[in-house]
């Protein structure tokens, strides 16, 4: 492929890649860093990519997400003492309950291990098949199935996503 096509690719696919990166990192600035780092890696291999460059970049991005995330932590950034357990609010009104549940789900996603979060994003946001997800994550289809299953199980038993007693009674 020509180098010009790389620029075109960056210009046209950045938004899509950024959204995936954001779902992985849950932080816009980090997501932009992740996309740029992945594209820079892809730039060196661009001449060898014969087809499906987006799948290639996505694979680089998911793999970079794991290793690069660790390096950023090495910056010795301060963290809170312990993550506070988000208590499910007992809200009144369907709209409030819906909004609150979305927030809880986003937080529950943050608590997933990185690879499980990556499987969730690729399977349920990117709508990739198990085989495509396995190709990107460079693992077996069986691993994708088990990781997805574990992720969903964790989300389902996450204390913040369990219905409150009031909600149970209302059912």
């Amino acid at each position: 492929m020509e180098r010009e096509s790389f620029d075109d690719f960056v210009a046209t696919r950045s938004t899509r890649l950024l959204r995936t990166a954001y779902l992985l990192t849950h932080d816009r600035a980090l997501a932009e860093d992740l996309v740029q780092a992945s594209l820079a890696k892809a730039w060196f291999a661009w001449g060898r990519i014969e087809s499906r460059p987006e799948a290639y970049v996505r694979r680089v991005m998911v793999n970079t997400y794991s290793s690069w995330w660790r390096r950023r932590w090495n910056g010795e950034e301060a963290t809170a003492e312990l993550p506070e357990r988000h208590e499910a609010h007992r809200l009144h009104g369907a709209e409030n309950a819906r909004v609150d549940e979305r927030t809880d789900l986003w937080r529950a996603l943050e608590r997933l291990p990185k690879r499980q979060r990556a499987v969730v994003v690729l399977r349920f946001y990117e709508d990739l098949s198990e085989a495509e997800t396995a190709e990107i994550m460079q693992c077996s289809v069986g691993t994708v199935k088990s990781q997805a299953s574990r992720a969903l199980a964790k989300l389902r038993i996450d204390p913040t996503l369990r219905p409150t007693a009031d909600e149970e009674l209302a059912r």
């Binding site: 950045s14 779902l23 600035a29 932009e32 060196f44 660790r70 010795e76 301060a78 963290t79 989300l155």
Partner: protein, 365 residues
């Protein structure tokens, strides 16, 4: 929670993000940096061969501290400083009294003007220890390293090494690294608690302080145990610092008056600053010979600082222009042969707060 909820949640958050900025300039910068780093690594491999040939490996049985890229033509018998491919001098620093040395790892007793207050390299499998010292200053930095032999980097990412001060809430954490520890000097500092220039307010001069260094699970922050883990930690009391202040006189960053790079000391020669909101380009003459420049910006939060559309750019040094996101700073070498002047400019939209700065360090003689 069902899968439909999950899909909706992901889509909503992704859609809320809006369009991506133009990332092409940022990608180009990273490509250029990677090329430079690869060129440096190639030079380092050449130097390693030359170093072995002249017996540069330390006589203590511990491998000499890692050296940067160099030219193979330089030998240990030369009286002139060894020069790396980055154009900067380098030398190994022998053990000195007060160094903490164990298992091929070392915390040096003195690095630049920073002094080791407490340092410890744990035994294999030791998941926690404490550092105890009596502060003579509240201006400290700390180091915490964690190596997990037998684990991949991905697997090691499931663990953190935490640093907590007894009697204070909160802790600092850094992720673990898979594999064996590299045999070289451990980083002197890295984390600087407290607001810029304020010191660690939980410390009291003259009152014994105890810091716990501990392996924890990254997800739960609970203590963890891993066979073969090697932890190391140190507290350094900082030497003199130069405050970088904003227009109101508030300190936004602290720069060491003396820094050490590759075994050589460099002294702060001058600092120029400008508010980002009413920016004027910063320039500095490059001294004859060798120096360092520290440049960047600080003072507040800079959302979206990862964008390639904006930041601070330094020109005039070999290797071309370099751009840093707002809110970050670092050091760049100015080897012999640099331009006569370096200039710091801004790129793209400037924030309405924060301070940009350019500091010159010269080689101490």
């Amino acid at each position: 929670m069902n899968v439909t909820d999950l899909r909706d949640e992901l889509t909503t958050h992704a859609d809320d993000l809006g369009a991506a900025p133009d990332l092409r300039a940022g990608v180009a910068t990273r490509v250029r940096r990677t090329r430079r780093r690869r060129a440096t690594a190639a030079g380092a491999a050449t130097l390693a061969v030359a170093a072995l040939a002249v017996g540069l490996v330390g006589s203590t049985g511990r491998q000499a501290p890692a050296v940067p890229a160099g030219r193979a033509s330089v030998t240990a018998t030369s009286t002139a400083p060894m020069i790396g491919s980055d154009g900067m001098p380098y030398r190994t620093v022998p053990d000195a009294p007060g160094d903490v040395v164990k298992d091929g790892l070392r915390y040096r007793a003195k690095v630049a003007d920073d002094t080791l207050a407490a340092g410890f390299v744990g035994d294999r499998g030791q998941g926690q220890f404490s550092l105890v010292w009596t502060p003579t200053t509240t201006h400290v930095s700390f180091s915490a390293e964690c190596y997990l032999p037998g684990l991949t980097h991905d697997q090691a990412g499931a663990y953190l090494v935490s640093v907590s001060l007894e009697g204070a809430t909160g802790f600092f954490a850094s992720s673990c690294t898979g594999g064996e520890p590299p045999a070289h000097d451990l980083p002197a500092g890295g984390g600087v608690p407290g607001e810029p220039g304020q010191g660690w307010k939980e410390l009291t001069v003259g009152k014994t302080a105890r810091v716990r260094v501990q392996l924890v699970d990254a997800r739960t922050n609970r203590p963890a145990a891993v066979d073969g883990v090697q932890l190391a930690g140190a507290v350094y009391e900082q030497g003199a610092q130069w405050p970088v202040k904003d227009a109101s006189g508030k300190t936004v960053a602290s720069l060491p008056v003396v820094v050490e790079q590759q075994g050589y000391r460099y002294e702060l020669g001058g600092v120029t600053t400008a508010p980002l909101a009413s920016w004027r380009d910063l320039t500095s003459g490059v001294p004859a010979g060798i120096g360092l420049f520290t440049w960047g910006s600080a003072g507040g939060d800079f959302p979206g600082s990862g964008s390639s559309e904006s930041g601070i750019r330094l020109t005039g040094l070999p290797g071309g222009a370099d751009v840093r996101p707002y809110g970050s700073w670092g050091t760049a070498p100015a080897p012999d042969g640099s331009d006569h002047t370096v200039t710091v400019t801004t790129v793209g939209k400037r924030p309405d707060h924060g301070t940009g700065f350019l500091a010159l360090y010269t080689l101490e003689h």
